[in-house]
């Protein structure tokens, strides 16, 4: 310990203006660690005011006269008015992602993790702790968690609906994986729950994390040790591969083309407006109504995309598939085979199923509820009659109707009658529920498929199955995905992530367009519109990160006759 006094002298020597800190090694480390920060503050003040450079220049090997002083002055007029709150915005944005594995069989618990300076704020917006009775209600609503203390509560979506009940685990900076504020939401393990919770977080202002971004931040914030850097690099190079992959996959995807086209529209509008700002006296006046129409059309596109983005809707409710048909065509067997369970009782007796039976399966990550119904027929049995009524009601409310017939019996008049009843019901409620014809018991009667083409017109698809062997179930799933527009998403997690990202882009675009509309309503001048248009274009272009200014300029010069 004879080291200590001299060590202290080293420290005081270097830190001049500070009182000598308590000695041990740690403080050297922290001094070294904080050095970049010190330098940055030096840079902010001009070196004229030597307040910050009371450490001798010779001691800092980097502060040669060549060193540049960076100047970013604030607007004094603004600072004078509201000289506050700039510390809040840290180095990074706040990211969120599902960090437990998805795509496989659901675990009991899944975790959504948020990291970044706004993590607590964002969770505060979606998470409502279930309060104990006696606890004083901290009125203001802002969530002020104690670090590393688990809280129980629910996650609400934008409309205040309960999404899931969760445990929130706040880990405040720097005592967390990333050394930022981290909040983990432990949800139920099903993919649906996790995605909905994630979505709520994204809506509340988080950004979707890039693959490996938590680890990256942990590293950049000095959390992981050096040997782990390599792994992070690998992760990131994997990321660019994934990005290229995603871009490639995107070429065909419906979302992707929409993103591209909306972005192109944004750029086009920007071109129109910006050209007038820089070349005011050379341009014909802008047709404002036309611009507004375009903006409305564009936001409609985005809205529609977001609304009809099938998976989006499916994530909220899942798919409901009703299996209907005459008695004893094998509806319950189909359900059992599909859900790989003995959920429904199967007998040779027609009319075994009296009530609606539910079973859950996952198709390409989408939760599907199968509804087995009582065979629809005219009956005097009072119980069966109620069952039939229920079947019809269920068929009406389902997202997809599977009508099952028996290959052994062929298309019967009862089938026709049943079809008519369903169709007239559909007509009266003006629904257009897609229908799939399943020809079951194919193993018992290998009949020619031509026979079924004539009735096929009423159906979107027809599929041959054998419920006993499970043959054709795969085809059935594909058919369903195609009908609801999810066929382009193959099973497995990654492609999902791509779409999730695009969905986030669309959401940001939507927000920008909403702001834009309000600017228009408030009759703000034209150049204010560009701010949000630019935001929208940026949100849509994030994957490739291109330079909007240059693109707009090229367009201006390409499109308009300007310049003197």
């Amino acid at each position: 310990m004879a080291l200590l006094p001299s060590l202290r002298s080293v420290i005081t020597h270097q830190l001049h203006h500070r009182p000598p800190p308590p000695p041990p090694l740690l403080s050297i480390a922290s001094f070294l660690f904080h050095k970049p920060k010190l330098r940055r503050t030096t840079c902010k003040n001009l070196s004229f005011s030597f307040s910050s450079s009371s450490k001798p220049i010779t001691l800092n090997p980097l502060a040669t006269p060549k060193d540049n002083t960076l100047v970013f002055k604030k607007d004094e007029r603004l600072v004078a008015d509201n000289g506050e709150s700039e510390e809040k915005a840290g180095t990074f944005s706040t990211i969120a992602a599902i960090v437990t594995s998805i795509g496989g069989p659901p675990g009991a618990v899944g975790i959504v993790r948020l990291s970044g300076p706004m993590a607590v704020d964002i969770v505060g917006r979606v998470f409502k702790p279930v309060k104990k009775k006696k606890k004083k209600s901290s009125g203001s609503g802002s969530w002020r968690p104690t670090s590393h203390v688990v809280e129980y509560g629910v996650v609400l979506d934008r409309h205040g609906n309960v999404v899931d009940e969760v445990l929130a685990v706040p880990m405040l900076a720097p005592r967390s994986y990333t050394r930022e504020d981290v909040v983990e939401l432990q949800c139920h393990g099903s993919e649906v729950c996790l995605r909905r919770v994630l979505r709520a977080c994204l809506e509340a202002g988080a950004t979707f994390a890039q693959p490996g971004e938590f680890t990256l931040r942990a590293f950049l914030n000095g959390r992981l040790d050096l040997s782990q850097a390599e792994n992070v690099e690998k992760l990131i190079s994997a990321k660019s591969v994934a990005a290229a992959d995603a871009a490639l996959a995107g070429i065909q995807g419906g979302f992707s083309s929409l993103v591209t086209s909306v972005r192109a529209k944004c750029i086009e509008l920007l071109t129109e407006i910006e050209a007038r700002l820089d070349f005011d006296d050379e341009m014909p006046p802008l047709n404002l109504n036309l611009v507004m129409d375009k903006i409305h059309a564009m936001s409609q596109d985005v809205e529609n995309a977001l609304e009809t983005a099938n998976y989006d809707k499916l994530l909220q409710s899942g798919l409901q598939i009703a299996i209907v048909g005459r008695p004893n065509v094998g509806k319950s067997s189909l359900l059992n085979a599909w859900s790989k369970s003995e959920r429904a009782i199967v007998t040779e007796i027609a009319g075994t199923t009296r009530d609606v039976i539910e079973a859950s399966v996952t198709v390409c990550g989408v939760p599907v509820t199968l509804l087995d119904t009582a065979g629809i027929r005219k009956t005097d049995d009072i119980v069966e009659k109620i069952g039939v009524e229920r079947s019809e009601a269920v068929a009406l409310g389902a997202d997809v109707i599977i009508m099952t017939v028996s290959a052994v019996d062929g298309w019967t008049s009862e089938d026709s009658e049943l079809l008519n009843r369903i169709q007239s019901n559909k007509k009266s409620t003006e629904s257009s529920t897609p229908m799939i014809l399943v020809i079951n018991k194919i193993d018992c009667a290998p009949s020619a498929s031509n026979e079924w083409n004539k009735v096929g017109n009423s159906f979107n698809e027809h599929v041959f199955t054998c419920a006993v062997t499970g043959q054709g179930i795969q085809d059935l799933e594909t058919a369903i995905m195609e009908i609801v527009g999810l066929h382009q998403i193959p099973a497995g997690g990654r492609r999902w992530a791509v779409n999730q990202r695009q969905c986030e882009q669309l959401m940001r675009t939507k927000e920008a367009l909403v702001r834009l509309k309000s600017s228009i309503e408030e009759e703000l001048p034209l150049d204010f519109w560009t701010i949000d248009l630019r935001d929208a274009a940026l949100a849509l272009g994030q994957i490739s990160g291109e330079d909007i200014s240059e693109e707009v300029l090229s367009n201006i010069f390409g499109k308009f006759c300007i310049g003197k």
Partner: protein, 751 residues
């Protein structure tokens, strides 16, 4: 040796400025320790009182650099040499001189300082665009240079022929003041300022004493003198003179290897015998500087007296004149002249179509494309066939000159066709042409060879600025000029150089673009180039930059007080508007009528101002305004209130981004060794050598993934360095303690 010079330099500088015995006590006795000592008191004092002192005491002859060795008294030694007397050169020389550096301005022809014009009559400053100052984005540059303490705004305010604010129907961020100036008067005024003459002002006389240490000399620079450490030591002229200085600013404009084209005929853009300036290009290339070629053009000039204006649409100036300068002493209204608008006719188009083969571009003998924002008339006609007519602006060039600038009518047609072409324009049927239209080709130095301080990466102390960096326009030149002047002076003084961040100003955006992006054409500032337009307005250029100008020493006490008073009045007024409430009455009725929105009882004036179409004038009209405020101040108040939400949002977005983007990059990174970067970005980053992460991300071809990879490498390097240092410190501590315990104490001290 280096430190020795530095010390003398500082004390010399200080004595010139302070002329106070106190300083001698501090500066004189401790030669070796001056640096640290002077720091303690005098610089602080310099900071606060610099301009004050310099105004009072710089009358002391500049030879008062008492404490130097004899060689420092020779005239040819300076702190800063500025080569070229155009807009960039003048701003650079003035800024440097005002910061206390002994500055030499070398120009080809003293009579033509800041001459705005033409190679044909004048070779010292090629500027083939019209004598207008300002316009979208460019006006912001002028305001910003003025806010920093530059001249261009003041001179333009003094010499305007006509002023208009463009984009008035848009938001405040794109309002743009444009002035047609008198080209002769402009040059004269600037020359007077540079030559430390009195400039006469109606209100009062201001003697700009700060230019006392600015010398001017006619000379043609042909080479750069290099020191041992790749540092600049001075310049060498055609006639064999050497001038020495630790900082040299090159602002030679389009003069380097300039070549003029009229039709198929070309000539070097210099008088016969002046081809020597070709030498400069070659000598720079010999030093390893990369040069490239740009092209630009200028329309013909016609004799104003031969134009029939009666049928033309006049364009008058604004009735209420706005100003570039924030200094009210320079706000002197003058009589305005009128510009006129004419249009191309069918005959114009026909004549051009018939002779397309005679134009350089379509005849195919010049490949270089001109700037996209300045297309030749034939380009417009070919590319936009469906347009039957194009606007042509007729702009006077001075009160006492007959030249009329035919804006929008530059052409590459041969001279013999130019007059017939002009005569197809209504009003110009009988005109006589004073000067033909022509195109200029010239060398420039792609600015990725400069840091954002505008100092070159290759040669320490050498600065490039103005058209030499590939820009066009006076405003861009002046903006670079003032920054390079400031930094040249600071460099000669051993101080750190300043860099205006992109987010701080259009000046910063300009320089960041120049050193980061590839140029395809002469760079012109446009509002669409700034991502933060709303925050970089004309009205707040002073509150963004004047404090910096003050810190640097370019804003004197009077000007500083003017600024602070303005700031105080604006914020006081905003406070007043927040507190004064009205219920009903004429004002409320008027507001309801104009905005279409109801006015609640006991609304604050602030809330009224936030409604659409409600301007401060409404308050004035009903007696609720503040008569003490100038029009500009009222505008500030109105903008701050009306667009508060937007401004705050942008500000916070900016703040978020800035933290990330301003992370510095070490200058000696080996990008080629970074295998995780894409090949393209390795190449581009090695070439540009960005100074911050933000700048790196703006280099073309560098993807976000590359930036992430770069961050990782930086962090890894930092850790390694940290590890090493810890070892070293531990080792030295161990050695220290060993020595202490073993060896005698005296030995340690003597070593």
């Amino acid at each position: 040796m280096a430190t020795h010079n530095l010390n003398i330099n500082i004390s010399g500088r200080l004595t010139r400025h302070f002329f106070t015995p106190l300083l001698f006590i501090w500066a004189a006795p401790t030669r070796a320790g001056t640096r640290t000592r002077t720091r303690v008191l005098p610089i602080r004092c310099y900071l606060r009182r610099a301009s004050n002192f310099s105004r009072r005491f710089s009358v002391v002859p500049s030879a008062a650099s008492a404490s130097g060795s004899p060689e420092w008294n020779i005239d040819e030694r300076f702190d800063v040499i500025v080569v070229g007397g155009g807009h960039a050169g003048c701003e650079a020389a003035l800024a440097s001189a005002r910061l206390g550096a002994k500055t030499l301005l070398l120009t080809l022809n003293i009579d033509k300082i800041a001459w705005q014009k033409d190679v044909f009559i004048e070779k010292s400053y090629v500027q083939p665009c019209n004598p207008a100052v300002g316009g979208p984005a460019k006006s912001q540059l002028v305001h910003e240079v003025d806010a920093l303490g530059g001249e261009i705004g003041k001179v333009a305010d003094m010499c305007y022929l006509q002023k208009r604010v463009l984009n008035t129907s848009r938001g405040p961020a794109v309002w743009a003041l444009r002035a047609q100036t008198d080209k002769r008067e402009y040059a004269m005024r600037m020359k007077n300022i540079v030559e430390r003459q009195w400039h006469f002002i109606m209100v009062r006389l201001v003697k700009d004493m700060s230019t006392a240490n600015l010398c001017i000399r006619e000379a043609m620079v042909t080479d750069i003198l290099l020191g041992k450490n790749d540092n600049v030591e001075g310049v060498c002229t055609f006639f064999g003179m050497n001038f020495y200085a630790p900082s040299v600013v090159l602002t030679t404009g389009t003069f380097m290897s300039g070549k003029i084209w009229v039709g198929r005929t070309s000539m070097p853009a210099g008088r016969a015998g002046e081809s020597a300036s070709h030498g400069l290009t070659e000598n720079l290339q010999r030093l390893g500087f990369e040069t490239d070629r740009l092209k630009t053009g200028t329309p013909s000039r016609v004799d104003l007296r031969t134009v029939d204006f009666s049928g033309l649409e006049p364009q008058h100036g604004d009735e209420e004149v706005s100003w570039f300068s924030f200094d009210p002493d320079f706000h002197i209204e003058r009589e305005q002249m009128c510009c006129y608008l004419t249009r191309t006719t069918k005959r114009t188009h026909q004549l051009i179509k018939d002779n397309l083969h005679e134009t350089p571009t379509y005849g195919g003998w010049v490949e270089a494309k001109g700037p996209r924002y300045c297309p030749a008339i034939e380009d417009k006609i070919v590319r936009f066939q469906d347009k039957e007519s194009h606007q042509i602006f007729l702009e006077p060039e001075g009160r006492n000159v007959p030249e009329l600038y035919v804006q929008g009518f530059s052409t590459g047609l041969p001279e013999r066709l130019q007059l017939p072409l002009l005569r197809t324009l209504p009003g110009l049927e009988n005109c006589s042409m004073l000067r033909p239209a022509y195109a200029v080709e010239y060398d420039y130095l792609p600015a990725h060879q400069c840091y954002r301080s505008l100092m070159t990466k290759k040669v320490e102390g050498l600065f490039f600025s103005g058209q030499i960096n590939g820009t066009t326009g006076y405003e861009e030149a002046a903006a670079q000029g003032i920054i390079s002047g400031i930094n040249a002076a600071r460099h000669s003084d051993g101080k750190s150089l300043i860099v205006l961040e992109r987010e701080s100003s259009y000046v910063g955006t300009l320089i960041d673009d120049l050193v980061t992006k590839d140029l395809r054409e002469p760079y012109r500032m446009l509002t669409s180039r700034s991502e933060h337009r709303l925050l970089l307005r004309s009205d707040n250029a002073d509150s963004r930059l004047t404090p910096l100008g003050r810190e640097l020493g370019l804003i004197d006490d009077r000007r500083w007080k003017v600024y602070q008073d303005k700031l105080a009045r604006v914020s006081e007024e905003k406070r007043r508007l927040k507190t004064v409430r009205i219920s009903g009455g004429d004002l409320a009725a008027d507001v309801t009528r104009l905005s279409g929105q109801p006015v609640k009882d006991s609304s604050t004036l602030e809330s009224l101002l936030k409604k659409p179409h409600i301007q401060y004038e409404i308050l004035d009209k009903h007696g609720f305004g503040n008569g003490l405020l100038s029009r500009a101040e009222k505008q500030c108040v109105e903008i701050d209130i009306k667009y508060e939400g937007f401004i705050v949002r942008q500000q916070s977005q900016l703040q978020q981004m800035v933290h990330q983007q301003h992370r510095p990059l070490p200058p000696d990174l080996d990008y080629y060794a970074m295998t995780t970067l894409s090949l393209e970005s390795r190449e581009k980053l090695s070439k540009v050598r960005p100074q911050t992460i933000g700048q790196a991300s703006r280099v073309g071809g560098v993807s976000p993934a590359d930036i992430t990879a770069l961050l990782i490498i930086l962090e890894a390097n930092r850790r390694k360095a940290q590890e090493q240092m810890r070892h070293q410190v531990l080792a030295s501590v161990r050695a220290d303690s060993n020595q202490q315990s073993e060896g005698p104490l005296t030995e340690t001290i003597s070593s």
